[in-house]
């Protein structure tokens, strides 16, 4: 494998339905049942949201965490396409697919969460440029479109010359084939426009998500509330991009019984201590500058959650990844990268849920069964579609199959 810059990608040749896939389908069905309940009973029927806690699990996890963990898309695009570092080309396609599906599910989650789902398109006509949420919405919408465009070459690669539509649609075969050939040629020349746009849009809305709660200085716990929130969100999104790619590679290799691209993944992990270190430096510097460190040993749920986030999500993996030995051992790499992923996820949950302390609330919000079921259903749906996509399209690199004993 060494020396070949252009890893070929191909559809995965592995049975689609395994017991795990049926479990995912089960989660999706339960989630769907609660979605139906939400549209019959209203948000109050399935969620624990209140007038003091208008945002819950769906915003904290499906949206904020989902967007952060989709950062593998733009970080690998920057590394492999903008810096033309071909060595990392192999990870761009799976990262792009994850981002595409991730943002699709962010939008689905939002659709269910907002009270008037059918008005979800309103920001396109009613512009409100003072609103941070408006900026985030526009960026996410545009970026999702860019991601779909970036995915088209994989569709072309798979189907050009092989278009075979079922039944009466077969008469369109020739037309679709021509369309794919045109798209392929066009995108081959102009893809750079979308690649750069993807990185710019990502930086804009990753930081935008952090700005969302800057407007609520009296509600967010001081361990997290800082005018630097947008900057910290951006830095943490950049830091979590590669760990997420590594984490997914491990999942895919386990689930699809494929060999790991350890050489690429270990190299990718070289960047993480640097990126995570920058994030850590700003986060700690901000804490000291604002004097908010006095709350560290408050002993509250908030201070404990902050300590877990910083120690196990930032400091420990940072120290681990400094070691070459850890980066080159599959187990060490997996654990360290997983800690980064969980740390950033916990940060988003902390900012939006744990650290959100509005006045006049009689009790702290905790998600309901229905909210958890819909979130679980969305994540299962994402994994299901990921599996479907890598089975249909050339996303994952060609590697030797691990022999089953």
């Amino acid at each position: 494998m060494k020396g070949s810059n252009h890893h070929k990608a191909a559809p995965v040749d592995y049975p689609f339905f395994t017991p795990g896939v049926w479990v995912m389908l089960g989660f999706m069905l339960v989630g769907l049942a609660f979605v139906i309940a939400r549209y019959i009973l209203g948000l109050g029927g399935v969620t624990n949201l209140t007038n003091q806690y208008p945002w819950g699990l769906w915003i904290g996890v499906d949206v904020a965490t989902g967007v952060a963990l989709a950062a593998g898309g733009f970080t690998t695009a920057f590394l492999a396409h903008i810096l033309h570092n071909d060595y990392y080309e192999v990870v761009t396609r799976p990262a792009l697919l994850t981002a595409m599906l991730g943002y699709t599910f962010v939008s689905l989650g939002l659709f269910v969460d907002i009270g008037r789902s059918y008005n979800i398109w309103h920001p396109m006509i009613y512009h409100q440029p003072n609103s941070v949420l408006f900026e985030v919405a526009m960026c996410v919408m545009t970026y999702l479109t860019v991601l779909y465009i970036e995915f088209i070459p994989m569709v072309c690669e798979r189907f050009i010359g092989k278009v075979n539509l079922p039944g009466p649609l077969a008469s369109l075969n020739g037309f679709v084939d021509k369309l794919l050939r045109f798209a392929d040629k066009f995108l081959d020349k102009f893809m750079f426009i979308f690649i750069i746009a993807g990185v710019v849009l990502s930086c804009m809305h990753q930081s935008g998500l952090g700005s969302l709660l800057v407007i609520a200085p009296y509600k967010v716990h001081p361990l997290w509330y800082t005018p630097l929130l947008p900057f910290l969100f951006l830095l943490s999104a950049i830091a979590v991009g590669f760990p997420m790619v590594v984490f997914e590679s491990f999942l895919a290799s386990k689930s699809l019984h494929r060999e790991l691209e350890m050489d690429v993944l270990s190299s990718l992990a070289k960047f993480t201590p640097i990126l995570l270190g920058i994030y850590m430096a700003f986060k700690i510097g901000d804490l000291i500058h604002r004097g908010a460190y006095v709350y560290l040993l408050e002993g509250s749920v908030q201070s404990n959650s902050f300590l877990v986030e910083m120690i196990f999500g930032v400091i420990v993996p940072f120290a681990m990844l400094l070691s070459k030995k850890v980066r080159q051992s599959p187990m060490g790499l997996f654990v360290a990268m997983l800690l980064v992923v969980l740390g950033v996820a916990l940060n988003r949950v902390n900012v939006f849920l744990v650290g959100f302390l509005p006045a006049y609330a009689s009790h702290h919000y905790f998600p309901s069964i229905g909210e958890m079921a819909i979130t679980a259903g969305l994540i299962a749906g994402l994994m299901f579609l990921y599996r479907a996509c890598v089975t249909i399209f050339p996303v994952l690199p060609v590697v030797e199959k691990v022999d089953e004993k």
Binding site: N51, L83, D113, Q128, V214, P227
Partner: protein
Amino acid sequence: MKINRRNFLKITGIAGGSLLAGREKTAEAKETKEDFGDKWGCLIDTTVCLGCRKCEEACNKVNHLPPPDTSFEDYTVFEKQRRPDAKSYTVVNRYFKEPDAPDKKKEPIFVKVQCMHCNDPACVSACIVGALQKLPEGPVAYNASKCIGCRYCMVACPFVIPAYEYHNPLTPKVRKCIFCHEILEKGGLPGCAQVCPVEAITFGKRRDLVHLAHFKIRENPDRYINHVYGEEEVGGTSWMYLASVPFEKLGFQKLGKLPPPRLTETIQHTVFKGFVSPLAFYALLGGVMWITRRKKKNDAGKEE
């Protein structure tokens, strides 16, 4: 309240934030430019209010709100602290001047709660589609047909006022006091101010109300503490309060003078002014991409 010290630290932290220091100045400049004196407002004198709940009843009637769970003459509701919700734009809460005194000697203080109609409202700044608007006359109004139901206004409101119709599956609305703006436009008074039997609610131009409040404090220094709540909180509000005890004892939060939208809007508009930064970033990345590609081509050429 432990919240106070925390918020104090937060605000000083913000003011000291080197990155934002320059921006804050422009925010202050913008603030002083606009005069809110001509806007409508109300001054609530909590030392006068008897807790009759007539304002709650009138509000319910003029705004065609759903019937209440118990009658407006039910005074047992005072046993709990209530908040405005999807069915009521305003509620009256009871506090005691000396909460620790024996029951018979307890002197009640009643506090009406509703939207404060901020001069620089966070909900309006947050609203993704502009469904919430600060009308030129002062009220913060809501247009349900634009609303997508994201509830960011509720997250943003420093007073935790907007409520949501969580049990309406398809057409839920954000519910909050709208300062009876349609009645005001016809020359009438807000439902609550109109009905109040003891005139605890004074309606007028904000400038006059501020003068009146300070006049009352000056003339009756024993009756009032020297603080008009809402005069400066979060940049000033259209609704303001007078009280005989510190406001923190009456369920009011201690809030800073800076309107929250000045934080987000200055970040937002500095970063995106004329779309210069995103475009510059785009150009920079394009340049990097072009250079790395050329370098790659050159390297490939040398090898051959």
